[in-house]
Symmetry: C2
């Protein structure tokens, strides 16, 4: 394998293991074994486990934002339909996982935000970037006349993303779709709904 | 110490350590040391670490519901004011913790729901009990004419609790009050607001 291919394999298996077991419980050795990469070569790619964990988080976020942009770019749908479509994509994603794993941004916020200031700062930055992209979509919705008047787009985007993360948390406990559908229904059909 | 006093000390220190470090990272020995209880006596009180973790969760939930009932019992306030007052109490609680720890129900859902079916079932049961109590308060609000018409109280209670848990998750990453206040503002001032 090329250097980049090996690095990507480590990130891919690291993402899966960290989603399944958490960051603290995922040992470097387990990642190397899962990725079928020889012991001892890890430190050719990453200086520390923390550097690896941050690279996993960045790769997860990049893939997430690529999904978001794929939906947001669809000019055949209204801005709110694009936003809702993106969440509906994740509902099907979590269904295929039988409501396991959840979102790495939420999981790491829970596990690491109090323990590790570097992870905390990165998580807050990435969650903020996602929120700002949702805010831009909501501003488009406002210009298209889709948004109930008087709502602050920035705070609405924060409420949207945070409530979605809460719905995912509850989905992990309920092991069914209800928390995600309840989020979609209240956010899109009630909160944003005109009069 | 009496038998009950020792058991309570173990639960108290266990709760604190599990909130700070997570369940998997909290060893029995660390709990015994923190509680100044002699090694070897743990198994007089709990058969397994899992039994201890479930007892910690139950004790946390009992204390949480006692807080909820304290606010819900205040007949001098309207039903929605009671519900909001309870969340505002937790805002001050988390402020005093400098936005650390979060809610044990959310933390354990994130950490354990995929790993341990016994914890998952207990968490879903306890979250459901909290939701039903919120639903009863919302039904009181409906009878008092405080609730915007056409909202399903059961699903609204679920959305309320899940979104609150998401706000707490984000609070851990942001280390400020904004996610909690944004939740309060959108849930009470926008979503439930008449006309």
């Amino acid at each position: 394998m090329t250097r980049d291919a090996t690095r990507n394999r480590l990130l891919e298996h690291g993402t899966r293991l960290i989603l399944e077991q958490g960051y603290n419980h995922t040992g470097i050795l387990a990642v190397l074994q899962a990725a079928a990469v020889p012991k001892g070569s890890f430190y050719h790619y990453f200086k520390t486990k923390e550097e690896f964990g941050l690279a996993v988080l960045d790769a997860y976020f990049a893939a997430h934002m690529a999904n978001v942009e794929r939906f947001f770019a669809d000019q055949t749908r209204s801005p709110l339909a694009r936003l809702r479509g993106c969440f509906e994509f994740y509902v099907e994603h979590f269904r295929s996982l039988e409501w396991r794993d959840g979102c790495l941004l939420g999981n790491m916020s829970q596990e690491l935000a109090d323990q590790n200031p570097t992870f905390r700062a990165r998580l807050q930055e990435l969650l903020g970037r996602w929120c700002r992209r949702v805010e831009e979509c909501l501003e488009e919705a406002r210009r298209a006349g889709e948004l109930r008047p008087g709502l602050d787009s920035r705070l609405l985007a924060e409420f949207c993303v945070n409530s979605w993360e809460g719905a995912i948390l509850r989905m992990k406990a309920s092991k069914n779709v209800e928390p995600l559908l309840t989020f979609l229904s209240f956010f899109f059909d009630v909160l944003l709904h005109h009069g």
